[in-house]
């Protein structure tokens, strides 16, 4: 489903502080896989996710999503593909403060122009699925850690993407919450979603549902077919 061919990402090109975050990375993720990208901090895990997720463009190399090359697409075409293909869960959750849980879940779908009532119904169903039906109207800053985390997952799912991308999802979580989160990811993977997670947390890459581990070091792939 996702394929990168020799991608390189250089920050601050041509300046004294030039920095190559990724070198010639070629990896493939098949549909339905649960892949963990591991490596120490600074190894380029997050950069790889941003490139695969279409949030930034590689300096060279190509990226294919569902057979379509996205690395040279202008932003206005990329966004549509991103909405259909990926749901994002961030390390610090990144919910929008001041908005309710429901509004946070609906926000990614606003530009698609879906009729409001239908979108609202779908978002409510998602919240219900994660046991948050009663908290739909609550502002996100009043939610507990676990609730906020589930709102973040619901938001990632609102456009019904083919894959879920999560960046260091367990970094700030205690044992119980981390386990709950991994359970949710495993369930989604069972329902057919591709899952791509970065982590340097052993709790993540030793999880039962994980099908493959890719290891990065200094911006290059060390091994691409590690087993959990």
């Amino acid at each position: 489903m996702i394929e990168t061919v020799g991608i390189t990402k250089t920050y601050n090109q041509g300046k004294p502080n030039e920095y190559r975050a990724l070198r010639e990375v070629s990896v493939t993720v098949e549909a339905g896989e649960f892949v963990v990208i591991k490596g120490p901090s600074g190894s380029g895990k997050t950069t790889l996710l941003t490139l695969v997720g279409g949030m930034a463009r590689p300096t060279s190399g190509r990226i294919f999503v569902s057979g379509r090359e996205i690395s040279s697409l202008p932003e206005r075409f990329l966004t549509e593909i991103r909405r259909q293909s990926f749901g994002f869960v961030f390390q610090s959750l990144n919910l929008i403060r001041g908005l309710s849980a429901l509004e946070n879940v609906m926000a990614p779908a606003y530009p698609s122009g879906e009729p409001h009532t239908r979108l609202r119904r779908r978002a409510l169903e998602l919240l219900e699925r994660f046991g948050l039906a009663g908290r739909a109207g609550a502002k996100v800053e009043w939610l507990s850690g676990g609730e906020a985390q589930r709102v973040a997952i619901a938001r990632a799912l609102v456009n019904d993407p083919a894959a879920i991308i999560a960046d260091e999802p367990t970094a700030h979580l205690d044992g119980a919450l981390a386990a709950e989160f991994l359970d949710l990811l495993a369930q989604l993977n069972l329902q057919g979603k591709t899952v791509l997670v970065t982590s340097h947390d052993p709790r993540v890459w030793t999880g039962r549902a994980v099908s493959r581990v890719i290891e990065l070091r200094d911006g290059a792939v060390v091994s691409a077919d590690g087993t959990p």
């Binding site: 090109q13 463009r57 590689p58 060279s60 690395s71 040279s72 202008p74 932003e75 075409f77």
Partner: protein, 331 residues
């Protein structure tokens, strides 16, 4: 010099417009010089981001230009009592050499920025920016025009002396020499027949463009749109105005915007401008090499053609209604 509030408002607007167009052109130069779609460099990314700014800027310019076109004419009308001999907008605009020049520039800027937005929309329909060069070259034309408009407009109002004797529309469009007079001297019946013919041709071409995939159809539509615009202006001066005013000698195209005539000009002119921008836009798209846009472009072309049809029907409908309800019969 005339320092009326609406004059100040116009000067503020034309200054702002010139500034925005100049800004858009500056970004356009960067895009023309360094554009390299195959590159993933940070500079290319920055340039692609600038395309968002330029479209927003030109969109704003278009709306400012449309509003200021009407405010300019109505101000000229309001100022007329201050000038001896000027009885309506025409007299004011004639008071010095800059009046009509400013008006024509405003009109040209409106049409060109409308055309630019049509090109821009088509360009954004496909990922490989097929029209990026023609689009930004057009922008480089737009910027000096807009600056010239601001300067001419300022000169026009500065040089306007409230005691100069000017002609009024009665004499401009009836006896004196010049293009406007030639237009007024056009036999009304001929002008109306020409208008109906040009309108029918425009509608036919638009229908054809909306139905067919042939490249000839949009090219013809563009040509028909251009001809129709000229014919329509001539017909408004020579025939439509007298019908609306119910005076065979009154040919002024601006009095249509006045309350006495139920502001009918505020429907006629926007409809005509919309029909012109959409039809000429379709033609320009067919001239520019935008064939790469396989699926999306024909759909956009059909949509534009449908807009042309709607605007033209509105335009012809109002003109017909004006003539039908008029007490006047011209031969």
């Amino acid at each position: 010099m005339i320092l009326a509030p609406n004059v100040l408002a116009l000067l503020v607007a034309s200054g702002a417009t010139a500034l925005l167009t100049a800004l858009a052109a500056c970004h356009g130069v960067g895009i023309l010089r360094h554009w390299d779609l195959s590159s993933g460099s940070e500079r290319q990314l920055a340039l692609e981001r600038r395309t968002y700014l330029t479209s927003a800027l030109v969109g704003t310019v278009l709306s400012f230009e449309l509003l200021s076109l009407f405010l300019f004419v109505s101000s000229a009308d309001r100022i007329a009592p201050l000038l001896i001999g000027a009885m309506c907008a025409v007299g004011t605009l004639q008071a010095n050499g800059y009046g009509f020049a400013t008006l024509y520039l405003k009109l040209a800027l409106f049409l060109l920025s409308g055309l630019w937005l049509v090109l821009n929309h088509a360009d954004n329909l496909v990922p490989d920016y097929p029209l990026i060069r023609p689009k930004y070259l057009l922008l480089l034309v737009l910027a000096p025009l807009s600056a010239a408009e601001a300067v001419l407009e300022a000169l026009f109002f500065l040089r306007l002396k409230p005691d100069v004797i000017t002609s009024c529309c009665g004499s401009l469009f009836s006896s004196a020499a010049g293009t406007e007079t030639d237009l007024a001297a056009l036999p009304p019946r001929t002008a109306l027949i020409a208008l109906v013919a040009a309108g029918a041709a425009l509608l036919l071409c638009a229908f054809w463009t909306a139905r067919s995939q042939r490249r000839l159809a949009p090219l013809l539509l563009g040509a028909a749109g251009t001809v129709h615009f000229a014919v329509a202006l001539a017909a408004i001066i020579s025939a439509v105005s007298p019908y609306v005013y119910e005076l065979p000698t009154h040919h002024c195209p601006f009095c249509l915007l006045q309350r006495e005539y139920r502001y009918v000009g505020y429907l006629i002119y926007p409809a005509l401008l919309a029909a012109t921008v959409t039809s000429v836009g379709v033609g320009a798209l067919a001239v520019g090499r935008a064939e790469t846009a396989a699926g999306e472009l024909p759909r956009f072309r059909r949509r534009l053609a449908r807009w042309t049809i709607a605007a033209e029907l509105l335009f012809l409908g109002i003109v017909a209604a004006c003539i039908a309800t008029s007490q006047l019969t011209l031969r």
